[in-house]
Symmetry: D2
Subunit: 124 residues, 4 copies
């Protein structure tokens, strides 16, 4: 376990992007990081995250360290892909939250796990 200084309160995505930029340049890895391969990598890491919960029910012990590691891999790969395509991730997130707020109005979506395409058009 290393001492950590980064945290969700103070560390920005840009700090992560900058850190990765150096990490990748040091290893000359930019040549492998095509957008397509980075998208594949996100999916492969998401598959490893899934495995942490496979065959488990609510009461089963989940390996939280493994979950943390897989979530970190997903964040790292998403940041690499964002950097590679000049996507500002937090800008994209804010935009998507606005879309979601419109797709899932409180009055219609409250207490319902229904995809927006299947939500009723009026409050029932």
């Amino acid at each position: 376990m290393v001492d950590t200084m980064w945290n969700d309160q103070t560390t920005t995505m840009q700090t992560l992007k900058d850190s990765l930029q150096k990490f990748n340049a040091d290893r000359d890895w930019e040549q492998f990081h095509t957008p397509k391969d980075l998208a594949m990598c996100v999916s492969a890491e998401a598959g490893e995250l899934l495995e942490c919960f496979l065959w488990k029910d609510e009461s089963s012990d989940v390996d939280l360290d493994a979950v943390q590691e897989e979530l970190a891999d997903i964040m790292i790969t998403a940041a690499n892909l964002g950097a590679r395509l000049n996507i500002d991730l937090m800008k994209a997130v804010e935009r998507k939250l606005a879309v979601n707020a419109e797709r899932y109005p409180v009055a219609l979506a409250r207490g319902r796990a229904t995809k927006h395409t299947h939500l009723p058009k009026v409050v029932t």
Copy 2:
């Protein structure tokens, strides 16, 4: 297109987590957000990201708006899962970067897209 104020330079994961906490509470969605379902959701969103690059080569036009939206979905779902399990995502990322730095020493990993388990043990 909405006006955006969030961005990778200044917005932290905590801001995203807080925003989602309210979004979910307003819709009474916490009941659906089990860690297992959130992990499944990350994977489903990663599948949609993959689709943006399917059957395309380097020269093909990729729909960047779609990529942005899928990346945003992945960030949002990762933040929901982190919040649900009390995982500090940036702390987890910093820890994983330290692990990666050890697994992929510059001298061994430079210019090689080889998984750490298959890297030579000495510089060749």
Copy 3:
């Protein structure tokens, strides 16, 4: 390497389903094989298949043994899920091929890797 007797020419999905039924019963695994977990397992195995191609271009050596193993895992898990939900997989495949033939008429789809929802409505 074991001697094999099964092959694509003569072995049916039912033979696989029957074989798995016994394999799972011997291990008392039916209790874990909920449809949801089996769907997660398909996705996790698909992630491992992805990894076989990660960071590789056309000319890179792909580990064919690994690809075979992951494809086998996907077939096995799909058969388990089909059996669990009483789905006849080949019946489902035939039905989907008919749907695809309608969605992708030769005259419109020829030489195009375009999703059916984005195909032109008339031949161009």
Copy 4:
């Protein structure tokens, strides 16, 4: 709903492979079907299968037609990848079942959803 003649009792993977070979040739789609893209496609389809079970518990209604369609897509794409790489899928499956039987001996694996790498070495 179309009349179906294929079924798990009598239809072999080779019948599916032959059918796809013609389907793809008619549309000149072989050019898009690189092994890497087909692996991505399996994963994207697996993500759609996941979505059928998202936010649902045992008692929730699952859309069985959607599950069937996604399972069919996975079988079709696996067959396309197998054909492209000259992999006999049922041969691969038989081989993997032998590996699994060795990895999960009844005496050790009975009633346990534990990955083989974490199974005890002796019966407990």
